[in-house]
Amino acid sequence: MDLRRKLEILADAAKYDASCASSGGQRRDSLAGGIGSTTGMGICHSFAPDGRCIALLKILLTNVCVFDCLYCVNRRSSNVPRARFTVDEVVRLTLGFYKRNMIEGLFLSSGIIRTPDHTMEELVRVVRCLRLDHGFRGYIHLKTIAEASPELVEEAGRYADRLSVNMELPTEQGLATLAPDKTLPAIRRSMGQLHRRIEETQAERRAPRFAPAGQSTQMIVGADGADDRTLLRTSDTLYRRFRLKRVYYSAFSPIPDTSHALPSKAPPLVREHRLYQADWLLRFYGFGVEEIGGAGGMLDLDIDPKMAWALAHRDHFPVDLNTAPRETLLRVPGLGVRMVDRLIDSRRHRRLRLEDLGRMRVPLRKITPFVVTADHRPTRLLDREHLRALLAPPPEQLSLF
């Protein structure tokens, strides 16, 4: 099989992993040798027609897999074509694309071949070769195979910027039905091990490098019956317990040779979007997980979760932009973290008026019902029953087919 065909198969096999970050961790350059750099800020070098960023060469080493996770394109029972890269092929592709400024680095994962240790060993061979033989200083995201031996994970962490173990489904029951080869305790053990090593390395300045950009995970949305509240509670626990850098949500989408044990209809992509917004509220806006996640455990698809919270808590409003503390401003719909900080900067110099907000490009239509400025006070607007209708976007056809 030629390289082009392998690339086609093994990129197709890897694309259902939503993680694309190439940021965080240490800064490096190649002034003293080697090739590549990391700036701390990720760069998206292209965008696919699905709107997702292409920052890394995202491939599997092989899509042969002994597991049979029903949502996965690479499950052993699937009839998709199989391929396997050699170490040298991955290294050549990575360096070739990198030197042309097409990528920030490599995202490498693999189907489970033979045993977890054997698979992990193969992955480590690739990144060892990139780092040691070629002095590669670009970004590397490596999948950690659950239940691989600590020595292999240790070596993986020395070469990779980020390590990740995918949760895939938030409940034991979901895994038992759809991913019978995986178990929650094993996944948690792997995350716990990564967490411990990352913490130890950060605590000790001279410690050998271990995944400086931290760990992340992914959960599939809509393949099992888990509702948004269950997903968000799981994320909240992962952020607090294992200090994950990111939880990715991947709306289950039709795959080639799809399993008919799965729901025939994919969840609306906007559900995934709302989960990301809620996830942001947990991490950067001071919201507790029990405060978000609407009626029946599902987020409102029509309005963003902060707006939904505000409409359900009208007694917290209006908020005076000239006097309210930061944590209160963060709860105003339409105000992001950066905008809140700019407002705080600005109000040291002036009493904020609507025209000031306009100049700072605050979305006025969205926030005026909720805020007081020097020249504005919402009147009956907050009580109006149809405020929700006023603020929700007109219904649009979200699906193209």
Partner: protein, 282 residues
């Protein structure tokens, strides 16, 4: 009426020297004319001013201003030099805190220039592509260190500001970045700048383009097609320079049918490999 002539469109150092001098002499912003050598002079320009001596006293400005000016002065807006001097005047005369008021109209304008320049630099680091230049012994696809040539058409005068990124990342390679505004050349030790060139001076393709297109098409998920988000993040003006962009129309057009095909496909029997593994694992 001082008429300041800067030596090139991104002459931040020249502007700084002149601005300090003007400030030390108490020259108010309204009476200064700024031009760039070789560009259209203003209608009533006097003879170009002699090269300015740096002022003797020091002018102290907040660090934030230096940072802001260093970016905003690279914008293509012809007003940029006057605007920044106007702001410097205010910062220095009466209102040091003004820089921290994002609602101030002048600060707002300067910040919008700064933002546009930063975005342009970011786009350059993202969408510029090096192409291996065929040499007598090279085959383009092999693991060599150049020479590589890139073409890019920035919206502002950002070549100088973007070059350190490429030096840090590709220090071991030899490369040239060609743009209509200015070109930069790295020989492994130092950067040399030269005047801008036209598109036809740069190579058009690279041996790896086909593999990259293969990757691009394969990493796209047709069940999630969303060309609007693609265009917001990767504006069309860059497409001409990206080998993968030629695939976009067809990928978008065929997406719905591919996704439907996946949903409607009849169930298949488990693969032979799958059945074999199944037996061993039971």
């Amino acid at each position: 009426m001082p008429d300041i002539t800067l030596s090139h469109p991104a002459d931040v150092d020249g502007w700084r020297t002149a601005a300090r001098r003007l400030l030390a002499d108490g020259v108010p912003p309204v009476s200064v004319t700024w031009t760039v050598a070789g560009e259209q002079p203003s209608l009533f320009a006097d003879d170009p001013a002699p090269l300015m001596e740096p002022p003797t006293g020091t002018v102290r400005v907040p660090r934030r201003f230096v940072e802001l000016a260093d970016m905003a002065l690279r914008h293509s807006d012809p007003e940029r030099f006057a605007l920044l001097y106007g702001l410097l005047w205010r910062v220095n005369r009466d209102d040091r805190g003004v820089l921290h008021d994002p609602a101030d109209p002048l600060v707002r304008r300067a910040e919008s220039l700064e933002r546009a320049v930063r975005r342009d630099i970011h786009h350059m680091t993202a969408f510029l592509r090096f192409r291996a230049v065929e040499t007598a012994d090279g085959d383009g696809g092999k693991d060599d260190d150049g020479p590589y040539v890139a073409w890019f058409d920035p919206a502002h005068h950002v070549v100088e500001a973007a070059v350190p990124f490429f030096v840090h990342r590709f220090a071991a390679m030899r490369w040239s970045i060609l743009t209509p505004r200015r070109c930069a050349h790295w020989d492994g030790r130092a950067v040399r700048f030269s005047p801008g060139v036209t598109r036809d001076a740069a190579p058009d393709g690279d041996a790896l383009d086909d593999l990259w297109r293969t990757y691009y098409a394969a990493t796209f998920n047709p069940a999630r097609v969303n060309p609007a988000v693609l265009q917001t993040n990767m504006p069309k003006r860059y497409w001409e320079n990206l080998p993968e962009a030629s695939l976009i129309p067809d990928l978008v057009k065929g997406a719905a049918e591919r996704a439907r095909g996946m949903v409607e496909a009849a169930p298949t029997a488990p693969s032979r490999f799958g059945r074999a593994v199944e037996r061993t694992r039971r």
